[in-house]
Amino acid sequence: MKSDKQLIDETGIRSDGRKPDELRNVIIKAGVLHRADGSCYLEWGGNKVIAAVYGPREAIPRHSQNSLRAIVNARYNMAAFSVDDRKRPGPDRRSREISKVISEALEKVILTDYYPRAAIDVNIEVLNAEAGTRCAGLTAAGVALADAGIPLKDIPVACAAGKIGATEEDGTFTGGHVVLDLGKEEDNFGNADLPIAIAPRTNEILLLQMDGHLSSDEFERALDYAIKGCHDISKLQKEALLKKYNVSEGDE
């Protein structure tokens, strides 16, 4: 539903106080689960996400095996209580699409040919959802894969940019600003959302979806913002992994 929401003021400050190119607060912890081969807990603004990696292990059923490489199954799932109106448990069409695009993005950076006939299962559980859960989930999955010791070309990372402004009562949209990392209100009332994932070493684009309305110029600016956001988050991913490693070194 759209209304005449003013999402950014004349000085370029957004309704939650952020600057156009400012991320929400992000906290990443690696290795938070006992049972999984690798795991990550991630808070991104109000989002709370856990990712767990199992594998490489034999792909079951057998006819799903690829004799040349491992298959990557990402499963994005939202807890029933993670959203305003309780969500029925189990996958819906949205989560199945997100699982697909995340699987495809992760597969590109995993050295899958090391493990023919194997499966690498990446479970992403959204405990609290506040705009941007697919980026949060993919980013957590990247850390969990590294934590599991899966050989990676790079640690994948995701971030979105978008366009916000004011939507008048008649539905027209005015004063669009390209901004980084849409918050909940911006996602609901904004005019475009561009989530991407990259391999940060090469800037290769692993995931890209866009909804809304962007001119070519706006798109290029949004893409720049999102790539910059990815690099900022990438640092936090590495710190989290390093921290776990150091702690482990010290503790054990």
């Binding site: 069409r93 699409e97 070519s216």
Partner: protein, 279 residues
Amino acid sequence: MTISPVIKKDYLNQLASDGKRADGRKMNEYRPIVIETDIIGKAEGSARVTIGNTQVVAGIKMAIGTPYPDTPNQGVMSTAAELIPLASPDFEAGPPRENAIEISRVVDRGIRESDVIKFDELCIIPGEKIWLCFIDIHIIDYDGNLFDASSLAALAALLTTKVPIEQHRESLEPLIEKFPDIQTYLDTHQNDYPLPVREPPISCTFAKFNNTIVVDPALDEEEIADVRLTVATDEKGDIRAMQKGLNGSFSVEEIKNIIKEAVINGKELRIKLKESIGR
């Protein structure tokens, strides 16, 4: 992988290195496109689209339903795509799988996010009765590029859809007593009338293999492609939707170039679409 796909892959890659495609097309050239509309008598709108050998039928059914509580004055649409086993030896019967879900969701977003359907004109009694618009897409013959064929078929069907008020008038008239508002609606809509729509965005799909990017990938090309990108642009050349697919990657430059090509191809497809619906 058996031998034959490997040979096919080498052959297509070799051709691509020479700037050629197996069916003689240029890199930025679509296969022949045919769009027919009004082919399903039972549907309120329908279209059959062929792009080369790929064939898709879309049908629109309109029904009267209840609005969502948070949008009491708006009609509702729903999109489903079926990869029926008719179309390919690889499609299986059963509930839709990831590929069918992705197609239906991308087509749906292309229509929904650009407000192609004027949902506020699909309200009959605020909070009580609105028009439901069901878009069903059947893949009939699969030779690649289902995103563009499905999107074109859905649009051609929508743009020729009639709101079937004549058939539903009888069921609405008894409600006049309870909801006097409805009288106005019935008075101003004596006959079936075209679904109120806006200018739609047009989808163009690209695939990359052997570092070559081609538009409208045929099945042979899709099978060896590393990565795919669908870009929907409007009549001003603005971007209205994008979806990357497959487990490869693009560089930023590649994406920018694809957008330029999508604008150019989109213009041609838009002309074909308009011709088919007689506008």
